[in-house]
Amino acid sequence: MPTQHIAPRRPGFMERERLQDLLDALRLLGYRTLGPVVDEDTIQWREVDAIDALPAGVQARQGAGEYRLEVQPDDRLFAWNHGPQAIKPLLFSAEERLWRERLMVDGQIEIKQTLPEVEPTAIFGVRACDLAALALQDRHFLSPQHPDPHYKIRREALFLIGIDCAFSAATCFCTSTGDGPSLGEGFDIGMAELDNGYLFWGGSAKGSEIIDRLSLKPATEAQLNNMIQGTDRAAAQQHRFLPGETELKQLYEKLNHEHWDEIGERCLSCGNCTAVCPTCFCYSTGYQRTLDGRSAEMKRQWDSCFSPTHSSMGHFMVRGETTLRYRQWLTHKLAGWQEQFGRSGCVGCGRCITWCPVGIDLTQAVAALLDGGLADA
């Protein structure tokens, strides 16, 4: 993992036409470069070697249960907010083989860990919310006691180019969680898109070294102002919010609130919110064996607290009803995480709102659950 420290922003300016230089510099250093590309009607991380593959003028209009790309007559390459997935699938793989076993003729069982083969990967244009989520996933999967070897190997190969958000989607609420719209930490290179070019600054030693080599001119006052205008605009565009962490903790005191049932009536228990959530980490494990019975693989795959098997104890389910599953998800994410990880598990990206097939909005749920109940709590 790159050494992370909060570098003060001393950005250099780059004209829009020169962006290819950065891409080339990274590729020269041996990185596979992933960037935002329009695919399947969304913005997705895809390998890019030329800047013209990036989505010029594309904005992502997001609402509850809705995502539409719109093209504006604009040169901006990062006017979209985010796509259906953060960095999670690139590190915490949706399906992973953990180990392989072979039954030997003498009855011995050979067990071999299977680790992924990775190449150094640079990701272009990672949002502040997704970096905050990544920091949380790091805490979970790279705990000092049990660092996950599969996650670790991919994480160490990652180089991150973060970007300030200059626009917000209607589903964004990172200002209220404190995770955006401007970059905090956890990137190698920081970046802001201005009206007429880019600002770059180093976030790690490795990142600073690359920036230095590009010999950029120090940003002018006007350019710095333009950068701040961008994040200010993004912040001002947000109209959803979550209350502070102290209030969120009180969700545990609202376990019998009638609003849970109202959500239970709408919720499909499909698991989409957990799959797109950049911090959700649940997985299930299971064997696959070959017909000859001589070899088997242990695999893990994303699980969800909305799956019937998640709380299964064999003879009974702790959470058979959808209402209880939604309550588990929300109370864990917003309150339980605070004890487990020192902060709420929500970074304000709003994906769970956008990608919920029936548009359930967690900010509304929280407002309804905590409404009027704070005084007596």
Binding site: D39, E40, D41, T42, Q44, G65, E66, Y67, R68, P84, Q85, P89, A94, E95, E265, R266, C267, L268, S269, C270, G271, N272, A275, V276, G286, Q288, R289, T290, L291, D292, G293, Q301, W302, D303, S304, F306, S307, P308, T309, T322, T354, W355, P357, V358, G359
Partner: protein
């Protein structure tokens, strides 16, 4: 010479043979299978010995004729472990749509001499007639699931069932939601996973050929599909399609067709 290998049979009831075809399309695994089992009956592939006693029977198709009822009892009696494969065997299949229609009128419309047709008044799943040990869903069945179940049985272990929703399969496969990005009327949120998210990966809505997931909130999904522009009847038809015989879908579809109750203002 008598073989000690476990015996396997594949039986056909009222069906299109698609699930048997799915098995035939297995390729290498199918060629490997006879190393570990004796296939005593699989008419579509050759072996034809329907009355042999077997360790495992795979049953395709629904029960729709009086003869089917007798035959399935026989198959059950002859089999230590019975697996139903595909939407017909597990839910009654597409042909169960006739259960909800005027069957006599349909017969008269289709056949010149409907009186020569000997059929039951309904098409039903195998499990409505005999005990079924494992159900593998889909239209057609996912033959890899069949192989995985056989691998478990060969090892003397109960096979496991797929219990997640199709949405989870889409997300695992990196398939983008067609409902959210295009307003496609997708049945994925109430559908059992297992197909590999085939339709959504081609940008199409899921039409639930794997049948109901364990949790079916049909009311909430119907409301959403209606907000996408579908009439109540169009939504009903999405529930009443390939797996209309599955109780959660049958009930959901019929509810949508029933005129709404008048409420006191």
């Amino acid at each position: 010479m008598n073989s000690t290998k476990p015996k396997l049979s594949v039986h056909k009831f009222s069906s299109c043979d698609g699930c048997q075809l799915a098995l035939l399309n297995l390729g290498e695994s199918l060629l490997e299978l006879p190393k570990y089992v004796d296939i005593t009956h699989f008419a579509e592939a050759g072996p034809n010995n329907p009355n042999a006693k077997v360790d495992v029977a795979l049953v395709e198709g629904s029960i729709s004729t009086p003869d089917d009822i007798e035959r399935i009892k026989q198959v059950r009696e002859n089999s230590a472990y019975l697996i139903t494969i595909g939407a017909c065997a597990t839910t009654g299949g597409l042909q169960a749509l006739a259960n909800l229609a005027d069957r006599e009128a349909w017969m008269a419309a289709v056949y010149a001499r409907p009186d020569t047709i000997e059929t039951l008044s309904s098409s039903t799943s195998i499990s409505e007639h005999v005990k079924v040990d494992l159900e593998l869903h889909g239209c057609p069945v996912n033959s890899q699931q069949v192989i995985a179940a056989l691998a478990d049985l060969l090892a003397g272990v109960k096979p496991v069932s797929e219990r997640q929703t199709l949405c989870m399969e889409c997300k695992r496969n990196g398939v983008v939601c067609t409902m959210v990005t295009k307003g496609e009327p997708c049945m994925g949120p109430v559908t059992r996973a297992g197909c590999g998210a085939l339709c959504p990966s081609l940008g199409r809505a899921c039409y639930s050929c794997y049948g109901p997931a364990e949790t079916v909130n049909d009311g909430a999904l119907a409301q959403r599909l209606q907000s996408l522009g579908l009439t109540s009847e169009a939504v009903a038809r999405r529930f009443l399609f390939i797996t209309s015989g599955a109780p959660p879908f049958r009930d959901a579809g019929l509810r949508l067709r029933r005129p709404p109750l008048e409420t006191d203002e």
